[in-house]
């Protein structure tokens, strides 16, 4: 009873119970019943438990082996037969790994945006980044973004709450990069580096 009252933080309730027993004339019974509690009284106490949960936001980009990936190369080879167009090239991929622990509003939902911040895609060339989400928790919703010389940014993943992708090879949101072009729009002089930036923010 004492332990229960102590655990409930309600010693007043315990005292009421004691008075009730005395009034009934059950003093020996009361002493016998409470003796073990008195013996242990000095070892009993309250302890506050303070939980602190980090409102975590973590993000990295890795390749299929789980190694950090910050560069993808697209080499457009000329056709093997005169008269043909430049053949299409295989899409490449990387994995966006993230851990998110949401908080209360204003940080209860997160998103990942992608934008071109360096270099330029030649006119007529499109780069489509398509996310395929894998992980545990509320990973969000992915939408493919097509980047062109006229469209430099877009929101790739929305509605991220508390979730994690895993950190091993093949874990994470699979990002497929597909380059679409027409031979007549190509200009070898425009070869170069295009810098994509991913931003994790709250929605």
């Amino acid at each position: 009873m004492f332990a229960y009252a102590l655990a409930k933080g309600n010693l007043f309730h315990f005292n009421i119970q004691l008075m009730h027993i005395f009034k009934q004339g059950n003093t020996p019974l009361f002493i016998a019943a409470c003796f073990p509690f008195f013996l242990n009284a000095q070892n009993t106490g309250n302890q506050d438990l303070d939980f602190v949960i980090d409102e975590t936001a973590m993000l990295r980009l890795v390749d299929a082996n789980g190694s950090p990936a910050s560069m993808l190369n697209f080499h457009l080879l000329g056709p093997v037969v005169p008269g043909q167009g430049v053949p299409s090239i295989q899409a490449q991929s990387s994995y966006l790994q993230y851990t998110s622990v949401k908080g209360a509003s204003p940080d209860d939902t997160r998103q990942i945006d992608v934008e071109i911040v360096g270099g330029a895609l030649p006119s007529g060339v499109q780069l489509t980044v398509s996310p395929s989400l894998n992980g545990t928790g509320t990973m969000g919703t992915g939408s493919p973004i097509t980047l062109t010389s006229g469209n430099l940014h877009g929101t790739l993943i929305t509605g991220i709450k508390s979730a994690y992708t895993g950190d091993g090879p093949g874990d994470g949101a699979l990002l497929t990069y597909a380059l679409n072009f027409a031979t007549q729009n190509l200009d070898a002089a425009t070869s170069g580096i295009v810098t994509l930036r991913y931003t994790l923010s709250n929605s």
């Binding site: 990295r60 560069m71 509003s105 170069g192 580096i193 994509l196 994790l200």
Partner: protein, 228 residues
């Protein structure tokens, strides 16, 4: 037989056994106390962003400010900071000369860009990562009915909220199938003045919505196909 190692072979061998110079890996910094914070106008003027370095070496991090509301000259934060190995650090920020007007900045956190060499053939895609931490300071509205505009789209069960006043508004939104019968968990709502509307997806069977703010003031809506 003596083996003589020198010249170019020796240099090559020496290079092979030397530890590779450390190359910063993008994405090894993280934010540990949220991507948005709000300080009320009658509260403290200082806050912190907690950053963590996952690397076993020090990491330099850049912090850039973009203005969301008001003037960024009223906000101060270090522009660059070095994180200790495998450690976290608190980056303090201050709202200077605070007033009752709404203020907001976005702090972009990133590692310095890597030096990259140009390619001669085709394209190369180089990637960078960054975090955006939104920081707000201002007064909360005690009269939501004067500053809140709500639009409902019945077909998609979407409720759009817009703050057309000069004060922030925080509330907890409870969707209900019937009066007193929740159709889903509470949804926290934070409306920034002068910002585009915020869309909230509701459970399909929602018929009523009850928003309760910090002072217990409530706004209720009936979710019908005529609601606007």
């Amino acid at each position: 037989m003596a083996i003589r190692i020198g010249g170019r072979f020796g240099a090559l061998l020496l290079f092979a056994f030397l530890p590779l110079p450390f190359t910063p890996i993008h994405g090894q910094v993280s934010v540990q106390n949220g991507l948005a914070q709000f300080l009320t106008c009658d509260g403290p003027t200082q806050g912190e962003i907690i950053l963590q370095n996952q690397l076993e070496t020090p990491l330099t991090v850049l912090l850039e400010i973009d203005t969301l509301l008001g003037s960024k000259t009223l906000f101060r934060i270090p522009s660059e900071i070095t994180l200790p190995p495998i450690g976290r650090i608190s980056v303090p920020y201050t709202w200077i000369r605070p007033d009752s007007m709404p203020h907001g900045v976005c702090v972009f956190i990133s590692c310095p860009p890597k030096q990259i060499s140009t390619t001669a053939e085709g394209w190369a895609i180089h990637t960078q990562l960054r975090f955006a931490v939104k920081l707000y300071r201002g007064c909360l509205s005690e009269q939501p009915e004067d500053i809140i505009r709500v639009n409902a789209q019945f077909g998609s069960h979407t409720l759009s909220w817009q703050n057309v006043g000069d004060r922030f508004w925080k509330a907890s939104v409870l969707p209900m199938a019937h009066v007193g019968e929740p159709s889903g968990p509470d949804i926290s709502l934070f409306l920034v003045p002068h910002m585009p509307s915020v869309a909230m997806q509701l459970p399909q069977n929602t018929q009523f919505v009850l928003a309760t703010d910090e002072w217990g003031r409530q706004l209720g809506f009936r979710f019908t196909e005529y609601a606007h």
